[in-house]
């Protein structure tokens, strides 16, 4: 079953490897993965869709939360969230079909981002199932090339971000003994 995971991670070399390594070590197949910087350039947001047996979903989240570079891992599979996917599509269209294609594109809310004598380039966003439908419809009009972004997901609930404070260490400044962090 597909699990949707949203991660807030430190934007550091190796962060992505740690997360995907955790999944591949358990032989889980990643369906899609997107990463981009957040407003804070030190952090990145990842959305991962991965095939995990339902009873192991919480274990995956716990293991991800153990990674030092992960600030927060959240399971969005069953929680209120919006999930979107983008498709870029090149479609070869004879003149006779063009009006019909534009009509279909309008119905699905897709935009023409390029056009030529060959045909169109279209951009569509939507939830993944809706995009599947749109792509199916377009295949009826001839040869298409499709590239999809993979899902990006945002939770509709605010979840409190628990971060650990700095810890005295290294003896440079003889402060109090370190005493880690927080209670739950």
């Amino acid at each position: 079953m597909l699990q949707i995971i949203s991660l807030l991670v430190e934007n550091k070399p190796g962060s992505l490897m740690r997360i995907t390594g955790l999944l591949s070590a358990r032989a889980y197949n990643i369906e899609s993965l997107t990463v981009a910087r957040t407003l804070d350039p030190e952090l990145s947001r990842m959305s991962i869709v991965v095939d995990v047996e339902p009873h192991l979903r919480s274990q995956v989240i716990k293991q991800m939360n153990k990674l030092i570079n992960v600030l927060q891992a959240t399971d969005l599979t069953d929680s209120p969230a919006v999930c979107r996917d983008m498709a870029l599509m090149r479609i070869k269209a004879p003149l006779a079909n063009r009006t019909a294609i534009l009509k279909e594109a309008e119905i699905f809310g897709a935009r023409v981002v390029d056009q030529s004598t060959e045909g169109f380039a279209l951009e569509a966003t939507g939830d993944p199932e809706k995009l599947d439908e749109f792509i199916d419809v377009m295949r009826g009009y001839g040869d298409i090339d499709v590239i999809r972004s993979g899902s990006v997901a945002v939770s509709l609930e605010t979840k409190k971000l628990r971060l650990s404070p700095p810890v005295p260490r290294g003896g440079g400044n003889p402060a109090r003994e370190e005493e880690p962090v927080e209670s739950k």
């Binding site: 190796g14 971060l163 650990s164 260490r169 290294g170 003896g171 440079g172 209670s183």
Partner: protein
């Protein structure tokens, strides 16, 4: 200005490192040059894998972080087994590896390997330090991560040009790891509920493991066991956390655990799991494990809760702190309510004692040949519960766990989770460095010993008085046992012929060695080994076909253990 190599050593001093186990190489030349006139002691091992095992031995016997060091490429890849070993048993180790210069990374340079990538899954965390400015921070973060929360190995990969670069060194005063979440204090409400569950139980059982060692919580554990007056089992990783003679102590459960321990696990109505992870070698067939029990699970790692067995009452926290609060709550309950379930508790205690008497762990002893159990009993006699015993992996490890008593934690050192052959001898070296006052036995099989022979040189170099006891049955005994029992005795690639003459072998390295074959010689030979001021290599020829019992066959429930070999039918 200071070189990166020098800055690294300064940081190590600030982390109270007194000893590094390592092996130099091309890219660590600048580091070894800085070590030449530095206070930190470097111990030259003969293979990098043993550097990591020795660092583990140091860490396991003290609780301090063990440090090992290797060069790039083959040096780093040789550390991998030790890192996984430390990961599986939650042992604090910091591994320092050299890397080719930053400009050469990714060019297939001489002795280049992607150490950062290779060790990602073998470590709790790892670093690739790309500039000298990042070095002090990375080192202190590594020690903090290795030793806090659930301990584990951390690797720091340092390119040669970072060792060589010069920078002004200003000591680090704090580190910030916002995503490193360690929950120390257990949830107060959960702890109260746990105390109540313990109070209400009729057949409670404490099941405690290596987490008690890591948290230094033996005293708190003992208080809990005595307050509740409940029987307790300790896992292979937890031997010594309760004194062996404690009346409530049953012994080790699991695949080669005692009858009483496995029956108690199966019959208890409340399983109090403390710093332990329901390993498959403990639980046997999971669906039949502790079928009547509600489970309280205390662990510092939230990912362990519910991983193998669902917890009815989970508590995430440092088991030392949680136990201290539990003990307070239990005392309050006792003060309020007096005793509870007294008759069922008493009959439960009686039942456990009966199980212990029914099938005690008794060593086989023969007049004709030395039984492995007899050997362990003799070592136990000389140790008196106080010696450090570093074990290798296999049958001898199980017999040692069954028959050698440990009265404190950090005496029994073994590769529990990974089961790495070749662990015992280098771990003994690390332990003897850490605790020079202690009698240290390395108990090894004839298989694992032959993986560690190069380290005899290290032992001699440093005049370490380690007593190496080879339980020599001429076979890879544990594999042979399984071939006998489950593969129609088709013994495939398990016979270890051509074992060297140990008197000559030890003699070649310049110390004493001896072989014993007769039971009558055994105790005097062991005494001689212990009396010897230096190292000693004692090769004990034991009966070759002894099997370890009790044994829970793979896939069976732990109460379905086989107690001994099939008895010959007498007409």
């Amino acid at each position: 200005m200071m070189s990166g190599a020098r800055i690294l050593l300064e940081c190590l001093l600030r982390e109270n490192v007194d000893c590094i186990f390592g092996y130099p190489g091309g890219v660590t030349l600048p580091l070894y040059d800085a070590m030449y006139d530095h206070a930190i002691r470097h111990v030259l091992v003969r293979h990098e894998q043993n550097a990591c095992f020795a660092a583990e031995g140091y860490a396991r016997s003290t609780g301090k972080v063990g440090v090992c060091c290797a060069t790039s490429g083959p040096g780093a890849t040789n550390l991998v087994t030790g890192l996984v070993d430390a990961m599986m048993d939650s042992i604090p180790v910091v591994a320092l590896t050299g890397q080719v210069s930053t400009k050469l990374i990714g060019s297939d340079a001489f002795q280049e390997a992607d150490t950062f990538g290779i060790t990602r899954s073998c470590t709790k965390h790892n670093f690739l330090v790309k500039t000298i400015a990042d070095l002090p921070q990375a080192i202190h973060e590594a020690f903090y991560i290795a030793s806090s929360g659930r301990p584990g190995p951390v690797l720091v990969d340092i390119p040669k040009d970072v060792f060589q670069a010069q920078a002004h060194y200003s000591p680090v005063s704090s580190i910030h790891l916002p995503g490193y979440k360690v929950i120390v204090e257990g949830h107060a409400g959960q702890i109260r509920r746990a105390a109540q569950m313990m109070w209400d139980a009729e057949r409670p059982l404490v099941y405690a493991g290596g987490g008690i060692v890591a948290a230094d919580a033996s005293a708190e554990l003992r208080e809990l066991v005595e307050t509740l007056d409940t029987p307790a089992v300790t896992t292979l990783m937890g031997l010594g956390i309760l004194p062996s003679a404690h009346p409530n102590f049953i012994s080790m459960p699991g695949m080669h655990g005692s009858y009483a321990a496995n029956m108690a696990m199966t019959q208890c109505d409340l399983l109090i799991a403390l710093g332990t992870r329901f390993d498959d070698r403990v639980t046997g067939r999971l669906s039949a494990f502790a079928p009547k029990a509600k489970v309280i699970h205390v662990d510092i790692d939230p990912a362990e809760i519910g991983k193998n067995r669902a917890a009815d009452l989970p508590i995430v926290g440092d088991v030392k702190k949680v136990l201290a609060k539990l003990n307070r709550n239990l005392k309050e309950l006792a003060a309020e309510a007096g005793s509870k379930n007294e008759s069922s508790r008493q009959s439960w205690g009686r039942q456990v004692r009966e199980w212990k008497q029914e099938h005690p762990l008794t060593p086989e002893i023969s007049q004709e040949e030395i039984k492995p159990q007899h050997l362990m009993r003799e070592i136990d006699r000389l140790s008196g519960g106080r010696a450090i015993v570093a074990s290798d992996v296999g049958q001898h490890q199980m017999w040692a766990a069954q028959f050698i008593r440990f009265d404190e934690p950090r005496l029994w050192l073994n590769s529990g989770g990974l089961g790495s052959m070749g662990f015992g001898l280098p771990a003994a070296i690390g332990a003897q460095f850490a605790r020079p006052d202690k009698l240290v036995f390395a108990i090894v099989g004839d298989g694992g010993f032959q993986m560690s022979i190069p380290e005899l040189a290290t032992i001699v170099n440093h005049s370490l008085p380690v007593k190496i006891i080879i339980m020599n049955n001429g076979y890879l005994g544990m594999v042979r046992q399984w071939q006998e029992l489950f593969y129609n005795n088709r013994l495939s690639a398990v016979e270890l012929s051509s074992f060297p003459d140990v008197t000559k072998l030890a003699g070649a390295y310049g110390f004493k060695g001896r072989t014993v074959e007769r039971p009558s010689e055994l105790s005097s030979a062991l005494e001689e080994a212990v009396r010897e001021p230096g190292p000693y290599l004692l090769n004990v020829r034991v009966t070759p076909f002894e099997n370890v019992y009790p044994m829970v066959p793979a896939g069976a429930a732990i109460h379905e253990m086989v107690l001994g070999p099939p008895q010959p039918v007498t007409a």
